[in-house]
Symmetry: C2
Amino acid sequence: MKNTVAELGELRLLERIRSRLQTAPAGEVWAGDDTAVLRQEGGRLLLTTDLVMEGLDFDLSYASGADVGWKVLAANASDISSMCGVPSHAVVALAVPPECPVSFVDEFIDGLVAAAGLWQIALVGGDVSGAKEISATVSMVGRPVTAAVLRSGAQTGDAICVTGALGGAAAGLIALRRGMDANDPAVARLVERQLRPRARVREAALLASFTPNAMIDISDGLAVDLEHVLDASNAACSIDTDSIPIDPDISSVPEIDPFEAAVTGGEDFELLFTMDPERVDAAAAALSSVGTPLTKIGVVGTGERYLGPRSLEEWRERGWEHLRPR
Amino acid sequence: MKNTVAELGELRLLERIRSRLQTAPAGEVWAGDDTAVLRQEGGRLLLTTDLVMEGLDFDLSYASGADVGWKVLAANASDISSMCGVPSHAVVALAVPPECPVSFVDEFIDGLVAAAGLWQIALVGGDVSGAKEISATVSMVGRPVTAAVLRSGAQTGDAICVTGALGGAAAGLIALRRGMDANDPAVARLVERQLRPRARVREAALLASFTPNAMIDISDGLAVDLEHVLDASNAACSIDTDSIPIDPDISSVPEIDPFEAAVTGGEDFELLFTMDPERVDAAAAALSSVGTPLTKIGVVGTGERYLGPRSLEEWRERGWEHLRPR
């Protein structure tokens, strides 16, 4: 028996919490996917919550209040999108130390409102509290465009696809920590990926027409989030590593392997999904209307779970910490 | 211009945040009431969030993990109830230090689940994070029983009513801080009021039939919450101070004025509402079916806002800190 939260670790703590909750009734999804799916008069409701903590999820040495507000809103919007849903309303609980400048709170709210405006999400209320450190919890509701797309629906033979390009947010974090020159346009784009992520709200709405079978957003890295989908779907995969869309700007940050960044770097908030392979071309054409690439990176199978030289489990254990500057 | 959050104060910080948000469209309510009221297919949705922080809202010297979980769930359920709504689903974001015992998290979740079970609310997901101190944010959705009852609907001539008895939760906190003997049944009941508050979920559902015009839950104290209703309704009041239902157990705690506790003590989570005076007797009879008293304490008017010897503003400025042991 592990006695402290640190000894147990986050994933096992979450499993432990889930084991103490009741089981969802038929037609609902509770813990275990990107959002809860609830039955309501008038259709399903999606509900999610996401917490960011100073020193863990952001650092005021490089992030402004507006960056923090933007990102926590985007992370929630991405969770709703990854159910193939449309986010509609959010509330925020903000905790700040007494000595926190009012200007930080102003900027935080402005960042929240700006991101909410981009995706037409209404910020409808909240709570504030004192604290020793800054934290913010956003909770969001939305609706499935048609049906909620779970992690568990991947079918053998499905194409495995991703939106956009991967690894940029992690490389941007490293660039920020190294204090790299933000006048370099490639560095500036990477920093933007880290501080002002774009939830794939419009893309999810477009993809709904092509009935993806499983979907998740890439918040923990391609390898880890692909493992989540395959675990939930009881499936395996065959990945064409050459096809993985690597953010081209990563090459501007020295001493980073772009492939490793793309496979293990989190917070890109791209969509990872599986669908009938015959629909991939049409889905890609639809996403091109909003300027977003769609790339098929592999196929759902029944054998092993490798991504290039390592199994998904090995990638997860490796984590992304090796990307950090020494 | 106040430069820090502490200099500005919580109420003005909330006002400042609200001023930066967009305005709700017709038929919706955003910031400024107990919950947001949102238009959805199939009817209105209520959405709220509430944050509790170690050292401010609870203290582990007297509260267990289960107490903390129970109370944050109850505070949210009370917010939904105070819109004359029925809470249905909740998510939780929990932040704990690395050295926090896993048993605390177990107890916290068990307390959440127990309170949720009492009011048939489903706990459907959440998030965990590291932190320097323990905090928990619960967000909850629900539905109005018929129509959402706002703070702003009080009409001149309405009866002003409260459920239950007041002041017990504040007296319980003082009893806990003084380490009073919990074998005394009156002390034990006060401690229960503080640590395991009962949201008036069933009572709100019953009251809906009698169409209250305005409603709030008493979380900040009778005087302050009455002022919130009257501010929102642009109204005044005439209060019969002798009729205010004071928790009889308060007299077991020395050096507390029971009337002051009832008027200024928060966290009772009783409902404060206004309604057609001709419906009060029938509403009281309905609540007696679940064992909850309903007391008319005054009338909505147009003149001044006094509660006994002080104006509501004076009560607010006085606060409840004078109740604390010296």
